[in-house]
Amino acid sequence: MPTFGRTQLKLLEELCNVIAVSGDEGEVRKIVIEEINDHADDVRVDALGNVLATKRGRGKNRLKVMLDAHMDEVGLMIVADDGDGIYRFESVGSVDPRHLIGKQVYVGKERTPGVIGGKPVHLMETGERTRRVSIDSLRIDLGLAGKAKVGERAGFATRFRRVGPSIMAKSIDDRIGVATVIELFKNAPSNIDFCAAFTVQEEIGLRGAKVAAQYFDPDLAMAVDSTPANDLPDFDGNENATYNTKLGLGPAIYIADGSTLHDPRLVRFLQVIASAAGIPYQLRQPGGGGTDSAAIQRALAGIPAVSVSLPHRYTHSPLSISRVDDWKHTLNLLHAALKKMTPELIGKRQKK
């Protein structure tokens, strides 16, 4: 098993704390390249900014396996200067405006501090207090005569922290995937050609994965993402039947989501591996959502794909929560699976 300890958590902390909004992934790209450069046979950055790294295995008939994690996070973009340090902004990717009021953000490469305030309750008319807020009415305030440029991105100022069994951070989706693929790449087994795709723009249409899959043309692919755990209590005390995944039950293997019917051979394979190695896992409830697997599966003549995600609560919000142990089990499961992959897993594949 690969090691799991302070080094891995420090890497995750660094990844979660930087801001890399869809289309502006530079800060994560830098860290990824620095981490994998010495371990790769080839590293390139493509036309969209994806980092594509290859580590070749040894022996005949090797499977070419693509592991995918997206570098981008949902965030904000400055769209207009209202003057006096006040800026108008829009969301990039899906951000619920209710998560924006009263929050601190960092803007641009300089990480200029700003705040998104709210109209004081005392000044509101009745009815205004209960009306849902819209992004139009919110502004980023950089202070008196604060400066930012239109087009700069902004993200939450949340700092990563360890609390008891948990990780509290922003962008666990999908920095956990990035950290996982980095660790797996560093410990790549020799029975496969490991193709690591650190993709861009997942949150705005899986655009990086689409072209990364074209580039690698792998035999199969696994997307490593982070999926919501909606395992909160029901207000009326009923059983929560739509939890999607739960914290503490290990990595979530996808069967079907809103965009992909994951390859049943790979789904079964992962469960067999997990059971044999005594690694806890859970099955993500079918339906809803999507991952880079959707784009990868339909690339070229089709690529068998499956997603494995770390469960996290409070997706696309200033602060998400995951369990450290769930991450450890995710790493161990994927590492064990890679080691045991053989061409028989997907049958013979016809070359064009």
């Binding site: 501090p113 950089l142 409070y314």
Partner: protein, 362 residues
């Protein structure tokens, strides 16, 4: 005060929600003790600090030492939340003071567990499938929100109790133009201003006794405002608090530009003569100021103090704060300094016979 920014940051970072002000009271007492002659905590937790004046006594003074006294009140409590129920390791909450529920989803908080442990946590909005249908379209009510400490349900049961207070936990940050943004700037910025006043008085002689009071529970019941004013029976009282700053979504007549000066309030809650004297002094000292008009009550400690005992001539000195009652309240440090200076100069200007000079309907 050279380190006003770092003092204000430290003030904002200590907990002190209404009803549980002891931690911040300790910090303030530590800071004030070298600046005053005596400090004590009132029966209900307010901090009273006396800096004696050098005067002999005024004819109309009601204070026990017969030297006239002025009370400057800056409330040290802040709004927050309280645990109402523990469900599967999550916490249900209610508000302490006027919380704007819309700022809560995603807000970093600290649960002050009764075991004495502070637990970092986050306020969260459950998915709509877990809420009653009526919750769909409107902004969420506080009763629907949950707090997640990241701990297992068993740990939470052991550590947290119903009634435990919860405060905002985001760190204050500096914005451009000398602005500090954080939670509880209302009213720790006023405590900072009052501290600046006490520091200035170290080198300014003054005849009157000065009572610097950090009151409790202004955000809920004005408990400190009423009881401290009664116990001290000052001859004059001035409250220091925040008022609405102009900013996004806030441009009405109640709002005033941030960084452009100190607010001097007028209205039924404020003694017109004292207001006039403050105004004249600000003009004389070229301290920029603006007029803040109120139609009836000021919603500050000036409200209870004015009607304590047989009544006390009361005034209100303010500075603009953006985003009041959110975790990102913002204030211009310049305005805090100006308020502190104006207070010190006003105190230094008080003659023995000031009370006799008070005139109505000039």
């Amino acid at each position: 005060m050279a380190d006003i920014l770092s003092f204000l940051k430290s003030l904002v970072s200590v907990s002190g929600v209404s009803g549980n002000e002891a931690p911040v009271a300790r910090l303030i007492e530590e800071r004030w003790r070298p600046l005053v002659d005596e400090t004590r905590i009132s029966r209900v937790g307010s901090l009273h600090a006396l800096k004696q004046g050098s005067g002999k006594g005024g004819a109309l003074s009601k204070s026990k030492a017969k030297r006239p006294s002025i009370l400057i009140a800056a409330h040290m409590d802040g709004i927050g939340m309280r645990v109402t129920q523990i469900v599967d390791g999550f916490l249900r909450i209610t508000n302490i003071g006027g919380i704007d529920v819309r700022v809560l989803p995603g807000a970093e908080v600290t649960v002050h567990a009764s075991g004495g442990v502070d637990l970092p946590a986050v306020v969260v909005m459950p998915p709509s499938k877990l809420l009653p249908e009526s919750a769909e379209d409107d902004a969420l009510e506080i009763g629907y929100l949950l707090v997640d400490t990241g701990l297992s349900a068993r740990e939470v049961e052991k550590k947290v109790k119903v009634g435990d207070p919860i405060s905002f936990a985001n760190e204050p940050i500096e914005l451009a133009g000398g602005v500090l943004s954080g939670h509880t700037v209302d009213n720790r910025a006023s405590v900072a201003a009052l501290t600046i006043c006490l520091e200035e008085l170290q080198s300014r002689p003054h005849l009157w006794d000065v009572w610097a009071v950090a009151t409790v529970q202004e955000e809920t019941t004005y408990l400190g405002g009423y009881t401290s004013a009664f116990e001290i029976r000052p001859d004059l009282a001035i409250a220091v608090d925040g008022t609405f700053a102009k900013g996004p979504g806030a441009n009405g007549w109640q709002t005033h530009a941030m960084g452009k000066g100190v607010g001097l309030c007028m209205g039924p809650n404020i003694h017109p003569f004292v207001h006039q004297k403050l105004k004249e002094l600000a003009e004389q000292l070229e301290i920029p100021w603006f007029l803040d008009v109120t139609t009836a009550h000021s919603s500050t400690d000036a409200e209870p103090m004015q009607v304590t005992a047989e009544g006390i001539p009361t005034a209100l000195v303010e500075f603009p704060i953006r985003y009041l009652h959110t975790p990102v309240e913002s204030v211009a440090i310049k305005d805090v300094q100006r308020a502190g200076r104006l207070l010190a100069e006003f105190i230094a200007s008080l003659e023995e016979n000031f009370l006799e000079t008070i005139a109505w309907d000039i």
